[in-house]
């Protein structure tokens, strides 16, 4: 495979024209970034190339031979593999078994485990992709490691073109660097790498060519070396003015003068030790009204466990949790929700949305919203529609149709649905886990602004994110989660090196 080209690709969905006459040529041995905002059509275009959708018009050429892909399997057979934003792994199967499923020539009956494991180790060594053991279940791996399994799957299937959909969305800075190193290695081996992203610095750092999409149309295709960040931002957003880069945090109310008790207090809280889970050790903190508390850390150091504890899915093994000064006796999501705790979860599809529900129904999937929109016994369709329409306009959810099934929305718009719901009513303590995962520049700034607006209205925010920039720009105080312990607090003005050392557990030598 030397060259893959898309010619005049067009694809429409019931309410939108997602891709409109896009032509791009990709060459082997390059990293080609597809840049655009949420809903610009990046993912749709790549789903067409990877065989998931069929274009309404236009054609795909590989080495000038026209191709039609009836399924992702057909695209894979032609050498095109996609690493999706939501990984397509079987969680209960091992790394080796997941890779096995992607092998093009597998024996139909027998799985020769040791050969398979050996094959995977060889692949991993050859392309310098670090994996611990091919025999552990995928569900026990961190997100970064799961992504590496996806890449291994693509390599094992003998694809020559790898499409990665927002690959850096949930990686730590170190993991992002590893990923880019791997991609550079693959490029030198003659692979074609297509990177879907909306992060301009990453595009500048690692791509050779880039194409910018806006509202389904191709704006331009350029060699990366000739571009500047401002120029790309203008291409992506169009003529709309750029939101301000730096943000000023709302002033913290002076501690001693605030008469009300802190919103949330953890006093020496431990979590139950569970199999394959990080046990939280002796967590203590105090969240004041109007404060953003950032929790940074490398993924897999207790973020999931802390979130579950904060929303009441797990009960503490030891210690006291106080909400507005009152110790909590019953500890369930229902109690915490009613008391004004909100959650923007890490995995919106698994924890935040009912995918078979409409947008309007998902906007009610929170007992606080439900109580306001439907105070009595009945759920009046008119009240539901009115609430949905208002939130859709306020949070710019596209397509703006309350009756659309939420599963048909793009990832970024699904996230907007979750945020529109969580910040609607009774948000006193907001637990935001990766709130801008998969959002583009303007959308994630919008989310940050909304969070800070809640904050200046007196809500307290616990921001759990592996995106250090996000934590640094938004937080009044920063804690680091490392192996189930909460380190800190430290000031957001602390040096990145210092924070980096804390995140990796080498702060003690500091």
């Amino acid at each position: 495979m030397q060259q893959v080209s898309l010619r005049d690709i067009t694809k429409s969905f019931p309410h939108t024209r997602a891709v409109d006459q896009v032509s791009i040529t990709f060459r082997a041995g390059e990293i080609h970034a597809i840049l655009g905002e949420n809903g610009a059509g990046k993912s749709t275009l790549m789903h067409i190339l990877s065989g998931l959708y069929r274009p309404d018009a236009g054609a795909i050429f590989i080495d000038n031979q026209p191709q039609t892909f009836s399924s992702p399997r057909a695209a894979l057979a032609a050498g095109i593999a996609m690493v999706h934003q939501h990984f397509m792994l079987v969680p209960s199967l091992s790394v080796a078994e997941n890779v096995f499923l992607a092998l093009p020539r597998r024996s139909p009956l027998l799985v020769r485990r040791h050969l398979l494991s050996q094959h995977i180790r060889q692949l991993a060594n050859r392309y310098r992709i670090p994996i611990d053991s091919p025999d552990v279940p995928v569900s026990t791996l961190s997100i970064g490691a799961q992504q590496r399994v996806e890449i291994l799957k693509a390599l094992a299937s003998e694809a020559r073109c790898l499409i990665l959909d927002e690959p850096t969305a949930v990686l730590t800075p170190a993991e992002v660097e590893d990923l880019f190193r791997t991609l550079q290695g693959l490029k030198q081996e003659g692979y074609l790498i297509i990177l879907i992203t909306h992060k301009i610095p990453e595009v500048l750092a690692c791509s050779d060519q880039l194409s910018v999409l806006r509202h389904g149309r191709l704006v331009t295709t350029l060699p990366t070396a000739t571009c500047t960040a401002e120029q790309l931002a203008r291409c992506m957003i169009g003529d709309a003015p750029l939101p301000p880069l730096r943000r000023s945090l709302p002033q913290l109310p002076p501690q001693e003068s605030s008469p009300s008790p802190p919103l949330l207090t953890f006093e020496n809280v431990w979590s139950h030790p569970l199999h394959n889970r990080v046990t939280l050790h002796d967590i203590s903190f105090t969240l004041q009204a109007g404060e953003v508390m950032g929790i940074a850390g490398v993924d897999g150091n207790g973020q999931t466990e802390l979130t579950e504890l904060l929303i009441g899915l797990q009960t503490p093994a030891r210690g006291t949790v106080r909400l507005a000064g009152q110790p909590l006796v019953t500890y369930t999501p229902a109690v915490l929700r009613t008391a004004g705790v909100c959650l923007i979860p890490q995995d919106r599809q698994r924890e935040g949305l009912a995918l078979s529900f409409t947008v309007a129904e998902n906007l009610l999937l929170n007992v606080s919203c439900l109580a306001v929109v439907a105070p009595g016994f009945w759920l009046a369709p008119r009240a539901v529609q009115r609430f949905a329409a208002r939130q859709i306009t306020r949070f710019g959810i596209t397509p703006p149709s309350p009756t659309q099934p939420v599963s048909t929305l793009s990832g970024g718009n699904q996230q907007r649905v979750v945020i529109a719901r969580e910040l609607a009513y009774n948000a006193r303590v907001i637990i935001a886990v990766h709130p801008s995962r998969g959002l583009d520049i303007s959308a994630s700034r919008y989310v940050h602004d909304e969070l800070l607006a809640c904050c200046s209205r007196g809500a307290g925010i616990i921001l759990i994110s592996t995106d250090l920039d996000e934590v640094l720009t938004l937080s009044h105080r920063i804690y680091i989660l490392y192996q189930g312990r909460l380190l800190g607090p430290i000031e957001p003005t602390a040096s990145r090196e210092h924070i980096g050392r804390m995140m990796t557990g080498t702060w003690m030598t500091y």
């Binding site: 999501p333 979860p345 016994f377």
Partner: protein, 341 residues
């Protein structure tokens, strides 16, 4: 949409089978059709046969919306019927306007209680409701058998059946001499009520959210276990009501083999209804019509009335096939042009 396709495919497949066995499928199926809705009397018979399927089909659907499979509608129906007979004895002196609601409430209570055990086992002990509800069907059938042979055996002591329920509890016949009884329009009202509860109330929303994504529902502050309990209890009550309606409207007494498997057919009805109450209404009417027409088919075309069970089973098979992802994608492609004019 997949349901209509499944019905059409099943009829085609069965016709092919009939043709292979040297029977003219047109004669057989048209006899079935005429037997079901050929004249006013037959039409009412179809409605009467559809009524228990509608109640139990709604019961299964309601539970399905909360993400639980109530395979135990049969047992709950039998318990409801027994309760109707048991309470019926004591309300003979009351006017029908009191006696009938009392009997029906007792049956709903009995059916609900029979579903309470699987609900408890599921939410407190993590036992799959599929297993516990199925097994309780057999216990219910044995209990009924014991009752009609023992404590509730008719006073003449001749057959293993109960005494007829007193006249005060008989559901009014709406169009004598047909057997069309009050339970039929009531079942339509029930469809409307279930639809209203599911889609127009907050409780229904919580219940559906539980079924759509239990984890997200729990994180949203919905007490998922409570919703599952409620769904199973309501489902059991509906199935129990089916038993009472059948006793007071049609059979007037309870005997062994009192239900020809309404609670099991209900699962097929719910599947064909695709989780929508109105869909269940049409499915129940269709299955009821098949049952009603089977006798005529046997007489006219010489085809065993058991063919109806084969048709029902074939529909479910096709439905399962059409629900797979691959076929779904094909179907959505087929009517894509409608969205893109």
């Amino acid at each position: 949409m997949p349901s209509l396709l499944a019905v059409a495919s099943a009829l085609l497949a069965v016709s092919f089978g009939l043709w292979l066995s040297n029977t003219n499928p047109f004669i057989a199926l048209s006899a079935l059709f005429i037997g079901a809705i050929g004249d006013a009397y037959r039409l009412t018979e179809s409605l009467v046969k559809a009524s228990p399927l509608l109640y139990t089909g709604l019961a299964v659907t309601l539970a399905l919306h909360a993400g639980v499979w109530n395979i135990g509608a049969e047992g709950q129906l039998l318990l409801g019927a027994l309760a109707a007979v048991g309470v019926g004895r004591y309300v003979a002196a009351l006017p029908p306007i009191l006696a009938i609601p009392l009997v029906c409430s007792a049956a709903m209570l009995a059916g609900g209680l029979w579903a309470a055990l699987p609900a408890y086992l599921k939410t407190q002990r993590g036992v799959s409701e599929v297993l516990s509800t199925i097994m309780l069907n057999f216990i219910a059938a044995s209990l009924l058998s014991y009752c009609v042979h023992g404590p509730l055996k008719e006073s003449t002591g001749q057959y293993p059946q109960t005494d007829p329920v007193p006249a005060a509890t008989h559901l009014p016949r709406l169009l004598p001499p047909t057997r069309l009884h009050l339970g039929v329009p009531l079942s339509f009202l029930c469809t409307l009520a279930v639809s209203c509860v599911l889609f127009r109330t907050k409780a229904g929303f919580r219940l559906r959210a539980t079924g759509a994504n239990p984890l997200a529902a729990q994180l949203a502050g919905i007490v998922v276990k409570r919703e599952i309990n409620r769904a199973l209890l309501l489902s059991g009550a509906l199935a129990g009501l089916a038993g009472a309606i059948e006793v007071t409207g049609v059979t007037l007494r309870v005997y062994e083999r009192f239900s020809p498997g309404y609670g099991y057919t209900a699962i097929a009805v719910a599947l064909v209804g695709q989780k929508s109450p109105s869909g269940v209404l049409f499915a129940a009417l269709f299955f009821g019509a098949l049952e009603a027409g089977s006798g005529t088919m046997q007489r006219v075309a010489g085809v065993s009335s058991g063919l109806v069970a084969i048709i029902q089973a074939t529909i479910v098979f096709f439905l399962a096939g059409y629900s797979t992802e691959a076929v779904q994608r094909l179907l959505s492609r087929l009517h894509m042009p409608r969205h893109n004019p």
